[in-house]
């Protein structure tokens, strides 16, 4: 450090609490750390069971291994959009109109869109191996594509601007309407004839036509991705709180914060 550039280092990040929070992660808590570790352990299990321990299928051979990823991503997307719908209702119909519900709705939709996209990609890979084609305009695939597109639209609507409550009202209505597509997607294979097979586990008849170890691998995938989903939504929601907080703070506040930072940093 030369004398002409004084104290540059001491102004930045020397505050002990800031440093420690940076390494722990500002959005993490004891519970979310537990969830994160659980998600990592279960994901390792999923890879081990999906790729190594589970047997190849009698007709699909190894391409059945894609199912252990594909089905959990679809399930998590359903769950995520369901949570978005529920949180939207909580925002719209509770007297308090708490923005925390709006943030949960937005966070959940974003995570859901990611998982739904992965459902489409992994499904296309499986389709190429088993059906012989990446894509078919059948009922299940078409309704899934529509669901995906709907929630991409939902995320765009959230970013149109205006106050946080305007955003919450606008997207809340959409979040409530869009969730109605989920039963259509799930039962599309019952309502119409489709290339896609019916559900093996979540079907009304209740008898599961799947080998034990395959079923277990699928179960590991479902639990792994569910815990991953909760971890992601919790953190996304907290990041959204921080983002909203920044948008609220105008320039004066930002300047004041920096002034405090430069004077407060020297004795940190």
């Amino acid at each position: 450090m030369s004398a002409t550039v004084p104290n540059i280092q001491s102004q930045q990040g020397v505050d002990a609490s800031w440093v420690s929070r940076r390494w722990r992660g500002i959005t993490s808590t004891g519970f979310s750390r537990f969830l994160g570790i659980l998600a990592i352990v279960l994901t390792v299990w999923l890879v081990l069971f999906g790729l190594i321990f589970s047997p190849p299928d009698i007709t699909q051979q190894s391409s059945v291994r894609i199912m252990y990823i594909h089905v959990p991503t679809a399930w998590v997307a359903y769950l995520a959009f369901g949570v978005t719908g529920l949180s939207s209702a909580m925002y719209l119909f509770r007297k308090k109109h708490s923005l925390i519900w709006d943030r949960f709705a937005g966070a959940s939709a974003e995570v859901g869109v990611m998982f739904m996209g992965l459902t489409l990609v992994t499904g296309a890979l499986w389709g190429r191996l088993t059906w012989g084609v990446y894509w078919a305009w059948d009922a299940r695939l078409t309704t899934t594509a529509f669901l995906f597109v709907t929630y991409v639209g939902y995320l765009a609507v959230r970013r149109l601007g205006g106050s946080h409550h305007a955003r919450a009202r606008r997207s809340g209505v959409l979040g409530l309407l869009a969730v109605l597509e989920i039963p259509l997607v799930h039962f599309s294979v019952k309502l119409w004839r489709s290339l896609h097979q019916e559900a093996s586990v979540a079907n009304p008849s209740g008898d599961v036509k799947m080998d034990g170890l395959m079923l277990f691998s699928l179960f590991v995938g479902l639990i792994a991705f569910s815990s991953l989903y909760f971890w992601l939504v919790l953190h996304r929601q907290r990041v959204m709180y921080l983002e909203d907080r920044y948008e609220d703070a105008d320039l004066d506040t930002a300047l004041a914060e920096r002034r405090a930072e430069s004077t407060g940093g020297s004795h940190g």
């Binding site: 609490s17 800031w18 929070r21 940076r22 992660g25 500002i26 959005t27 808590t29 994901t43 890879v47 999906g50 790729l51 190849p56 051979q61 190894s62 391409s63 291994r65 894609i66 990823i69 594909h70 991503t73 925390i100 995570v111 990611m114 996209g117 992965l118 990609v121 992994t122 890979l125 499986w126 190429r128 191996l129 991953l228 992601l232 953190h235 996304r236 907290r238 990041v239 709180y241 921080l242 983002e243 907080r245 920044y246 914060e257 920096r258 930072e261």
Partner: protein, 44 residues
């Protein structure tokens, strides 16, 4: 394993996308949270 390319692509794309999302999320958290005081945050 037959069809190994497709299967590894499937696992790789999925886990890679999730890891990328987590990376972006933590970066945004750090950026937006750098002046936030722990006691102001509702979850701490």
């Amino acid at each position: 394993m037959d069809d190994a390319g497709f299967i590894f692509t499937c696992y790789g794309v999925t886990l890679g996308a999730v890891a990328l999302y987590i990376g972006l999320l933590l970066r945004r958290a750090r950026r937006n949270g750098r002046t936030a005081k722990a006691e102001e945050l509702p979850w701490t």
